[in-house]
Symmetry: D3
């Protein structure tokens, strides 16, 4: 019988192997040829079974020059972000009613914190590729990319709702929805 | 000496009064004369000191016809939503990569769940005022209204970042930022 | 294979439907024709599968004039109580050694907190039916009704034990046990 | 400056002494000359400062022959009960709607579990003094003794409420309240 | 279908029996004829199914004169230790960088706390057998005995690693590994 | 008034600055001129106030050739370990009774998990300096270095205790204690 914990198989401790705790998928650069010029390569419980219940995961993030990891929130995690190569602008916005925008330019070796579930982004503002390691305080952090969730859901949220929410015309909204 | 727990004063148990657990601020209709036509009246640990550490809070939400409680996420809470008057369309979007839009039309007495930190909204689609009670699984749930966080932060997120994230022109973004 | 979490089925996220998060069972008045003149209609993970792991649930409580929701404790929840119709006296008793009785009369729109697992009750002291919404900080709050647990268990707790605990005669205890 | 955690002082780790983790108050028998013939001597964070935040506490319970530790619930703890001397009948009642009474007679060395916040009691059914050690899964478990909370609160819960809850006459209730 | 919670079967509440919450295995003295002269008899979720999810467990510890419960840490628990017979020296070491050694001699009835996951031990320094009850703040506390983990793992940690860690020669390490 | 949470100051959200979430101390190589040839540079709540309550922290670990991060446990954290430069052997030992030694050689870009509170170590087995990033699932993970805790405590654990625990002579133990 297979035991399931949090929806993932839970191995008998006497059968675990080193490979249950190991992942070599970060050796290679992620493919950044896409609309935003960045690529997030995750290491969560899906890639490393031994992470289950251990409350932590991570990601390698590659950026081409100008590449953006667009505004998103993590459903279940704080993020600790370390720059390994390049110069990266980071920022997050505090919750209502302040909505303060906190931002910083990071160099190689710098660390920045994105607190639990606030909207945040990173952008490579240098002339070369950039690379960062993100660590997340959950084995299954969840990602809600704002633009995708709002303008790219399946099916679409009705244009009226979004036009009112963003205080703009239906036409602008339809244009945005068309892109996603 | 005043003891602080979670940043709020913690009364000596032998001094608590019934009023520390009581709130009459929901007796009156909220003022919905604003851009979105809805008003959220919160009952959290700020209004009711006795809620501190108890892990729950609530809100009364009033809507005029067409009124929208715009897309938002709660930083620390699931929401249980009950319609008391009117007909309300509700919806939420699941996290990446599916971004499924789950929606429903609710009548008086209906209950709907907005799971932890997914983007969700409600809209009064009837011809009369609507009223709902929201309950939240934290005494301090936190609210991140998407449009405010993205287009209305102080200072502004740079136009370049948002244009790339929403795959639109700087002009459209500047227009949106101007509204907030 | 069906995944179970907390003893309830956990659906594949790509298969969830709006109805997994929806409940219309609160549309109708509960039947209060019983010994205490009140009826609790629950909305927990048993009625709404989507509540599983989300840490919240609720109930509609109907009261006829004089109706009582008798003294009880919730095993795993704080309760946030809102009066929708009528005038309701509420109260709870703090833990040993104080045993202070904290009480209040609530009108329509008033909110009251019953802290984690203290003995509490509500009573309709008006001349008309009353209605309230209770929200609970657990998807599976548990209810221990004092009179039922003490005098109505199956099998009975021995009369000697209860006579000593309540400092009364075996005859009084047998009478009370007979009612439940 | 004194740091407070959970309302108790939190010593600088470099200043803690062995005595912060030590308690000799269980060396002596508790005084059981009272209405129920038992005495609970607690070891919680109030007696042992080093227990703060550590999530555990304990009690020595002494019983004279026939002595009863009357029906009660712990607000924040499961209890693990070990008999050191004598023969003790124990029992707990499961929550609504079953209200099953689970009971057992324990001898020296036997262990029994009282699950989180269910009503439970113990009684010395032997002819000699009995002694037990209770351990509780919280540094501050909280005790709600049913009879005290219901009939001995200050001020009294109104007689009408209790008469209806226990389905008996006001006279019986007044008699019970008078004892506490 | 059998529900599993935390990897252990979770009975239907209506089928639980008193014996699911009961254990008589502490009635007898543990066998202390071994290299360290002590014996730990555990009562965890493995012995008492009803402990599952309840966050507590316990052990009886027997010691012959001079018997040692050698330095160990519990992976998931604070320990509350009560002496029932004899005179026991106890101690724990605080974490880096202080590494303070906190120690005390306990008599019958004395209680001592071993905080979450610090290295600790107990030793019978009297001339007679000693007996203690340990309670642990987890139903599945985990035990890492230092000497076994470091010198007795299967397969061995390489001699070089341990020689450097303990700043001694390979020969001393090989000798220690040979014993375990 | 300064609010304290977990023993650290908790800033008013409207006063936080980007620098509360930022740390540049990882830009430089740690000094590995010490007995074990490695250096751990921490980024916890002590270095980055904004980490408080966020449940995560990290460290940069530098190793000279042959350098060892000696066997240790983290009191409150799982560790996710990523090699940035060099070839590093890692290992951990499972808890009693198995004490299995799980080991792996990692190259640049490889990730390995050290589960909650098991004894683990890393060693640079290449000919060049090595560098790794460790992330820990607590803002205040705690470190118990085995050799320091057992042989280097202040004051010393008595020689008799350790000789029995490690099944060796008092002379060997005294030698080990002398080194620390």
């Amino acid at each position: 019988m297979i035991l399931m914990v949090n929806g993932f198989a839970c191995k008998n401790p006497s059968l675990v192997q080193a490979d249950d705790f190991y992942f070599d998928g970060l050796r290679m650069r992620g493919n950044t040829s896409n609309a935003v010029g960045s690529k997030v390569s995750l290491v969560t419980v899906e890639q490393v079974p031994g992470l289950n219940t251990l409350g932590i995961s991570m990601a390698r993030v590659d950026y081409e020059p100008g590449g953006l990891n667009p505004p998103h929130v993590h459903s279940r995690a704080t993020e600790l972000f370390t720059v390994l190569e390049g110069t990266i602008e980071v920022g997050f916005v505090t919750s209502n009613p302040e909505n303060r925008f906190i931002t910083k330019v990071l160099q190689k070796g710098d660390v920045f914190v994105f607190p639990f579930r606030l909207v945040h982004f990173q952008r490579n503002i240098g002339n070369t590729n950039a690379l960062a390691i993100s660590t997340l305080s959950s084995q299954n952090p969840g990602i809600v990319t704002i633009a995708n969730a709002v303008f790219g859901s399946k099916p679409d949220i009705s244009t009226d709702v979004l036009a009112k929410a963003f205080q703009t015309s239906n036409e602008v909204i339809e244009n945005l929805q068309f892109k996603f």
